[in-house]
Symmetry: C2
Subunit: 438 residues, 2 copies
Amino acid sequence: MSSTALTFSSCAEHRAWLATQAALPRGFRVGTTRFDFMPKEAPKPAKMTLTLIALDQPTPDFAAMFTKNAFPGAPVIVGRQRLGEPVLGAIIINNKISNVCAPGGVETSERVCVETARLLGLPATAVLPSSTGVIGWGLPAEDIVAHLPQAAAALSAGSILPAAEGIVTTDLYPKVRSAQLGAGRIVGIAKGAGMIEPNMATMLVYLLTDLAVPRDTLRAVLKRAVDVSFNRISVDSDTSTSDTVALVSSSQVPCDDLAAFEAALTQVCRDLAEDVVRNGEGVRHVIRVQVKQAATPALAIALGKAIVNAPLFKCAVAGNDPNVGRLVQAIGKHVGAHAPDTDLSQLRASIGGIEIFAGGAFRLNPEKETALVAHFKHAELYTSQPTAEGIFSATVDYPPHERCVEIEVDLGSGSAGATVFGGDLTHEYVSENADYRS
Amino acid sequence: MSSTALTFSSCAEHRAWLATQAALPRGFRVGTTRFDFMPKEAPKPAKMTLTLIALDQPTPDFAAMFTKNAFPGAPVIVGRQRLGEPVLGAIIINNKISNVCAPGGVETSERVCVETARLLGLPATAVLPSSTGVIGWGLPAEDIVAHLPQAAAALSAGSILPAAEGIVTTDLYPKVRSAQLGAGRIVGIAKGAGMIEPNMATMLVYLLTDLAVPRDTLRAVLKRAVDVSFNRISVDSDTSTSDTVALVSSSQVPCDDLAAFEAALTQVCRDLAEDVVRNGEGVRHVIRVQVKQAATPALAIALGKAIVNAPLFKCAVAGNDPNVGRLVQAIGKHVGAHAPDTDLSQLRASIGGIEIFAGGAFRLNPEKETALVAHFKHAELYTSQPTAEGIFSATVDYPPHERCVEIEVDLGSGSAGATVFGGDLTHEYVSENADYRS
């Protein structure tokens, strides 16, 4: 659950709020540059942004988690090796091309690190690379190398907002969340809107802090925070080949309360994860599923995921149609296929606080239907409106509010619970993804 | 793979072909009736069709398989009990309401059986009930009982087509397949367009034969046929609460070649399964995935399902966009999550016979892209065209052809294989499902 309940009435208002979140911790600078290039696999030019995050001093205190997709991108392969290196000095990120299974992809990724390191006076192994965008195309190495000096020249302390804007692809708006902890702070940015059901890691997320937490502790804390944030969301059930979350400390401020640090980091991760869903491709309703009294945490999480990934229920939400049968179908499908011994006789389900299922049967009437429709409409982020050609696209470039379609499923047969976030399935999702590249 | 390669240029031509398939085996009659009623959960009237399939003589030789969804419909609960009864004399089917988890649903279903049995001079336990449609609503028992005599009066030998038309909901057209085997025949009908990823059974399918095959053999043969047909398809990854496939023999023609019977039944099931996908909600491209050289049959099937269920790849197919990165993402997601020890280094993938991945990297160039687009367009069933209000709906009411998007994934690490069918993800699917009930 978000720590805040924000509403925005314009992009300018949202950007002003982002600016309040975006102060960099001590010891970090960011710089970006944008250029045109010609992909060798495609017939027309494209644009790429390079985003450079640099530490004033290389640090041993960094952590990263990566996708579990069996075809990881080249930067993920390189990044896993970086975890064994003594220090990290910079992160270099490009959008537009994800460098996944492209011939010579690892070599190209390493070359970008070498050039970045040279500009910053670092060993190449102290640079973490990240790429996001089209899967299958190769990185334009010469173009990147030619433009790296501009990104380095743009390095600036102060705000992380240029980086939050630099890493996006189909995102509608930049995502920044932060926490102040005594004299130190944590600031995080996230990129990602589609191909999102992270598995042990997530899209691209960079978390920076000046609070001094040693490497091993940092890695353990990050894993726990990711497990309850990015691993509890799904936009479209697809798991990216590039998922990466990195946490870097400049260690300039003593951290005297590790529990407070973990709580703050977890909240930043949860807020960013919810931001990613709210800004998910085509998402017009965020769906929050709270599963309660399950036999195991794994069942609670899996049931929540099964609900937010059920296409028919997602379509019903998109249409403000309280088709509760599809919700129960999704629960029964998961349990029937994966946990057939589960006792569902005590299951109770509600939407927007309205009980719709109990004692093995639906509890419906026309008044409840009307109230459910109102709940769905209240949670809608914007109204769907096609162009004359039948193209649907988002009509907001900021998050108007943080309301969700609230679903509660109480299994009545245990003590485990989980909260999972997902989105609806809309014409905007299909419009975006039936013709993303062209 | 379909036994035929049919093309149709009009609904009339398709109906004429259906008529050639639709002859009832000896010993069966069908009758239907349609009426208006007022659902007690909704504010406006609805229409329901009752379809009655009756045997001239009750038979001990019948088989049925049902959904594995953990919230089975009341008719599924009743149907499972019927498997233990000595004979079956009739099947009574209604559309519009599926009678799932409705208060008193089993009692209502039994009451419909009692009334059907009374009209036909049967014990109630010799009637198999089936219901399909909205989940959550209760059956209008009085209306059904009042209209049953009309369905019984309409009973007629000759054609199964009235039943194929009577059981549909969102289907675009009726589905009938048959096989002639010496003096006997098998005829099957299927209903189902959405909420389709059957698990051990399927939507509503009725297979009738006059060939004499004893009950136990019939049940074993049906299970094997279903495993390679209805259990290899997915329209939208959702598993219905009402899936039912029933096979009934009137045993009027001696069956002297059981292997030929099984082959013919399997082909009828495969053809119907492919029909269900082709007629799936919003499906504009049928996707046929052939997985080869997998370590186990289970992996081959699961990988095929992972591909046809990956939303981003399905959207790309809808847009005739050969976004091969999303195909590899889908494979890597499944293997990373469920079979992480699988060796993917020998994986080769092709679309439309064009190699796109081998030796750990993509094999792409602009010429291949052009050829892939042409392959996708050739497999399109109809062109997407919204109304002025942005509503998308199918522009055909017959299957224009049986061409598929052909995907081959060769794992190069075993001897198992599987063929799986699925559909694309389109605006037509969202339009249909964001406002199905209203």
